[in-house]
Symmetry: C2
């Protein structure tokens, strides 16, 4: 089955809007043993959209389109598909009732523009929207295209996801292929090309599998896909000795989750004091449900005054030793560990840019880890823009902690 994804919206071509929907859909397809052969984004332009719809009807068996179902003037996905396929739009009573109920529950009356959302092409089925007002469309064997399935989903991620899980996935399951399993290994603290070289021999030994390497600022992922779970287990046992302590996680977890799991397994806790990462490390940890079982909290001590007020550090002394220094990072970690009574505390300071601060060049970062056996501190020089440096610092701090946790008996 050839499956293609169409994401609709001029914002996807010109502004800072990321198409996260198609990424999510790609993952869900993989669970069914299905995959996109391509994903295309087009603008809210009738001509471009019509051209793409016509192409897609020729080359694909399943077309998943997101966006353009809303109430506003630039939404016309449903109307255009109906026009191309020569189908009329008729009001679906259930969809209209759903919308009225949605607004009634919020003590509001639907704006008049919203009523066009209840229109559905003749021959198609509406997909109910329990968390929004735009119903989706499931259209099997549309006029002139037997065997083709068109699925129109809202562009709002929450609505799209819920509709997929409750109404689209169950309809697709009978068509699913043999499920593809993915072995995902998260490696921290190793550059992508080094990982490539170190794993080459094992990759060649299992060369019939589908391999990819995926580097980000915080970690490198090694992915292997196969229909045979035993083949993936063999890969993992071959790679474990090669990767050693650099293997941070296996499965769905990222570095943050791996650290929280390791802490929880040992009944240990973590607190942080962040200067130049300004809360990013804490936010990445608390994004994970259940983080509070191991992560206690911390101080965002972005300014000298905050370091004094929240951690009782002497501003005059800080001024002398420098707020971008090993000594400062150590003081942040130790004061935080003591104050919050945590097993471990991380202290981060540095200059994330965009300009040098006194003697601290952009990218100079100090990470201290205070733990049961004392405090160790690392000096880093990181590349990239402000966001990159903040993210790399947070990841380096977490990886330090991870290695220290697993190094203890």
């Amino acid at each position: 089955m050839r499956i293609e994804c169409i994401a609709i919206g001029t914002e996807l071509l010109t502004t800072r809007r990321l198409d996260t929907n198609s990424v999510w859909l790609g993952e869900r397809l993989a669970r069914l043993g299905l995959a996109f052969h391509r994903k295309t984004a087009v603008g809210d332009n009738r001509e471009d959209l019509a051209e793409l719809f016509r192409e897609a009807l020729k080359r694909s068996d399943l077309i998943l389109a997101t966006g353009g179902l809303g109430p506003t003037f630039d939404d016309f996905t449903k109307e255009l598909f109906a026009e191309i396929l020569g189908a009329e739009l008729v009001e679906d009573a259930g969809s209209r009732a759903d919308m009225l109920a949605f607004y009634a529950a919020r003590n509001r009356v639907p704006p008049q523009v919203n009523f066009k959302q209840a229109l559905i092409p003749v021959g198609a089925e509406p997909l109910r929207n329990p968390v929004g007002t735009a119903p989706g469309v499931w259209w099997e064997d549309p006029p002139g295209h037997p065997g083709v399935r068109i699925v129109l989903l809202p562009g709002v991620p929450r609505e799209m996801k819920r509709m997929w899980e409750e109404q689209v996935e169950p309809r697709l399951r009978p068509l699913a292929g043999p499920a593809t399993h993915t072995l995902r290994m998260v490696v921290a603290g190793v550059p992508e090309s080094t990982l490539d070289e170190r794993t080459r021999e094992v990759r060649e030994r299992h060369g019939h599998l589908d391999w990819s390497i995926l580097a980000s600022l915080t970690q490198v992922e090694l992915l292997v896909r196969s229909e045979d779970p035993a083949a993936l287990e063999a890969v993992l046992s071959d790679l474990k000795p090669v990767l050693g302590g650099d293997l941070a996680a296996v499965g769905e977890a990222n570095l943050e989750e791996a650290v929280l799991q390791a802490l929880r397994a040992r009944g240990e806790t973590l607190a942080v004091a962040e200067s130049m990462t300004g809360g990013l490390l804490a936010a990445r940890l608390t994004a994970i449900p259940g983080a509070s079982q191991a992560f206690l909290g911390g101080a965002t001590v972005y300014t000298l005054g905050a370091k004094a007020a929240l951690l009782d550090l002497d501003p005059a002394w800080l001024g002398r030793v420098g707020t971008v220094s090993e000594v400062c990072a150590t003081a942040l970690a130790e004061a935080t560990r003591q104050r919050l009574g945590a097993t471990w505390a991380l202290g981060l300071c540095g200059n994330a840019g965009p300009e040098a601060e006194g003697e601290a060049p952009v990218g100079a970062v100090f990470i201290a880890l205070a733990g049961p056996e004392g405090t160790q501190v690392r000096a880093l020089r990181l590349a990239g823009d402000r966001g990159d440096i903040q993210l790399r610092s947070a990841a380096a701090a977490l990886d330090n902690l991870r290695r220290s946790i697993i190094a203890r008996p």
Copy 2:
């Protein structure tokens, strides 16, 4: 000029990797008065990639491809374009020297796999990579396709951006159309469909312009594009009275930047105490360069113990009043304001899920704002998953603050 973007990498079809490159490129094209007519993502699959390259060579004048230039086994963009166009690859001495210098500066020797990156198709020009090891390619009038331009860029965002700015944009500038200007208005605290209705009359009056509405969890953007800056100024002066205090920013700023600017303009400061947002609000503020001029820092008081240790709140008393309550939010804001000596302090507590905590259902959030005229607190019930609720809470807190700042004389 028909311009298309091709993003290459299986990870773009199947896993959690977002194609941020094409979004950035779309913005840069807009500055030149150029735009993508479509963007496509394909996997590291020779057949799919070759099919797309052949199509693109037929329908587009400029092809911008990102990814697949790296050293690893799944990188073959350059090789495939060369094969399709019948061009040989030859080693470019400059690219080889750049790569050796890149590694030498880091006291490393390039892994053998890296040398294939210095190969360039005959007839094409290499684009130097000052921040990485993969050179790009600028290929004008490739064999059999006069008038076509192919630009191959690395997939690593930092490398792609630098190469674009220094080498691609200057080459494209002579081809640029009349520059398109964008009027971007950020509206906070108003749902998308309400904004649609409220702005309809003004939109109709300026119906010849290119309008779009873009909602996210934290704000709604209203975008208008035109080649005529005066037309956009007329739109803005028509919309200002309609939007009133809901208009948070005009231009490139988001809600966070608008708040920091308003604080700086008044010489005021902000501190935060975050329970269920766990550092997210602080991180969003400190992502902005120069945030420390107005943002002092704060406490990530994710646990009861942290609330006691960092803000001296009595744990027994907190247990009685509840850690998800108006009283708790107020105490967080007031203690933080006093301790950090800030003009304003925000205190956030709530339950972001995934499960109810005692009597606090998922989505129950309290936001307190302590300021020069006392403390006000708002109770919210937010929808969505854990990440949505955290993000919506942070945005609601900032918007409360923004409205309070502008309300003062």
